[in-house]
């Protein structure tokens, strides 16, 4: 016998199910009397620093049908590359930026939308810069454990080339699944980022 590590096991995940919106975006699904607004529905204030952008996309299943019951969350640094978190020790993030967003896919089209700012660069563990990116977390009915992925920006070619995480991906043809092309829609920089759960275009998901 040896000593015990006395470690607990993480609570196992279960699917968010079809009614995740009741708990996570109740106002969006018609339960309007309980919370004044849905958590993560507003990432910006007027005084938030940084370039206004929009992130839009859909989540597709293995037969090419967009999910209409998914919940997508984003977590990102501010325009200077600082996280609004007590774990952030490099400086103080923009107090007018939450860094956290949550979007229920549109009930008719499945499209998720985030009105946010373009994040600055955040260092890798060894101090090298990472390309600007947004962390995404996806849950839905039929997804047994939340899926982590990232969005990189299509107009950051050189930074993406040098990114230490993208550089490690063995199957180079899959890197593109993490990079959102830039368009301008209604005068605002828009990054369109579809996520594919399965199939030839399957998005890269991370074990973080």
């Amino acid at each position: 016998m040896v000593q015990s590590l006395d470690r607990l096991k993480e609570s196992p995940s279960q699917t968010a199910g079809p009614y995740v919106h009741i708990g996570c975006t109740p106002n969006y699904c018609g339960i309007e009397q309980v919370f004044p607004e849905d958590l993560g529905s507003r990432m910006l204030k007027e005084e938030t620093r940084g370039e206004r952008i929009r992130i839009v996309g859909r989540v597709f299943d293995g037969v090419g049908t967009p999910l209409k019951d998914a919940l997508v969350e984003v977590w990102q640094a501010d325009a200077a590359g600082l996280y609004p978190s007590p774990q952030e020790t490099r400086g103080k993030a923009d107090p007018a930026f939450t860094g956290f967003g949550r979007s229920a896919g549109d009930m008719a089209t499945g499209e998720f939308v985030f009105e946010t700012i373009k994040p600055g660069s955040v260092p890798f563990k060894d101090g090298r810069p990472q390309a600007p990116h947004v962390t995404l977390w996806i849950v839905a009915r039929g997804i047994n454990i939340g899926l982590h992925t990232r969005l990189y920006f299509g107009d950051e070619g050189a930074a993406n080339e040098a990114d230490p995480i993208l550089a490690r991906i063995e199957h180079r043809s899959r890197v593109a699944t993490l990079i959102a092309p830039k368009t301008v829609e209604g005068g605002i920089a828009t990054y369109r980022h579809d996520i594919f759960l399965q199939g030839e275009k399957e998005t890269i998901f991370f074990d973080i």
């Binding site: 006395d6 995740v20 996570c24 009397q33 977590w75 978190s85 997804i143 454990i145 399965q198 399957e202």
Partner: protein, 240 residues
């Protein structure tokens, strides 16, 4: 407060993405291997929600949607602690919960079960763990309900939980079940979890010691989030 990267998630303890017994997972499960990503600040940090996020009735589903009376059903208190894998309390964890009413019916446009809505029950609540990781909320015991998977599949009574820890890597959604419910062992969603010991971690025991006499029974449900390394031996910048 500081902390290092999170302990690797034990993917064999969690349900696999693909489980044909839960039919919807068949086309919604990634088929390629997940790519290992050493935690960076993007994973080690996470959003923080202060107690000012909460309204006074957010943790009371008996009252937070009540219109002309209280909801029908068994009054219960759910309480427990949020801990990490080293059994350290996780303070400040936002916990969001949602559930069906006493008859097993959700308040949702896409819900088609014939059991009636309860005009006094919304079915959502939230709270934040205290300095010792403890949390509690009050609700009505949800009913079991049928769902379209097999021709006769029923969900055991359950409450959905969404939990934010201190880092985004700890993000977790799960479900709480109730001690003694025979439907637990028949449910294809429960059965996506491969290990019986893991399933038992989601079953809340009746807690008579915290039951309020003549008012509400208590169930105790502890939640464990991923633990994290000390920063002492990592995160060294190049050249150090």
């Amino acid at each position: 407060m500081s902390g290092g990267s999170f302990y690797q998630r034990d993917r064999r303890w969690h349900p696999p993405a693909y489980d044909p017994g839960y039919k919807t997972s068949v086309t919604r499960s990634p088929q390629k291997a997940l790519i290992a990503l050493d935690n960076t600040l993007s994973e080690m940090t996470g959003p923080v929600f202060g107690h000012d996020t909460l309204g006074p009735l957010d943790d009371d589903m008996i009252l937070n949607f009540a219109k002309d009376g209280e909801p029908i059903g068994q009054r219960i208190i759910v309480h427990g602690r949020v801990l990490d894998e080293d059994a350290r309390p996780v303070p400040g964890a936002l916990i969001e919960v949602w559930q069906a009413n006493a008859g097993g019916r959700y308040r949702h446009k896409k819900e088609s079960y014939l059991a009636p809505l309860d005009p006094n029950f919304g079915g959502c609540g939230r709270t934040i763990s205290g300095p010792d990781g403890s949390y509690r909320f009050r609700t009505i015991k949800p009913g079991p309900y049928p769902w379209p998977n097999g021709p006769n599949d029923w969900r055991p009574a359950h409450i959905h939980f969404s939990i934010f820890g201190q880092g985004f890597a700890q993000r977790l959604i799960t479900q709480m079940y109730f001690e003694g419910d025979p439907l637990i062992w028949l449910c294809p969603i429960v059965s996506t979890i491969p290990d019986k010991a893991a399933i038992e971690r989601l079953i809340a025991p009746l807690d008579m010691a915290n039951t309020v006499p003549m008012d509400a029974r208590a169930y105790k449900f502890d939640i464990v989030l991923r633990g994290r390394r000390s920063t002492l031996f990592e995160n060294r910048m190049e050249g150090n």
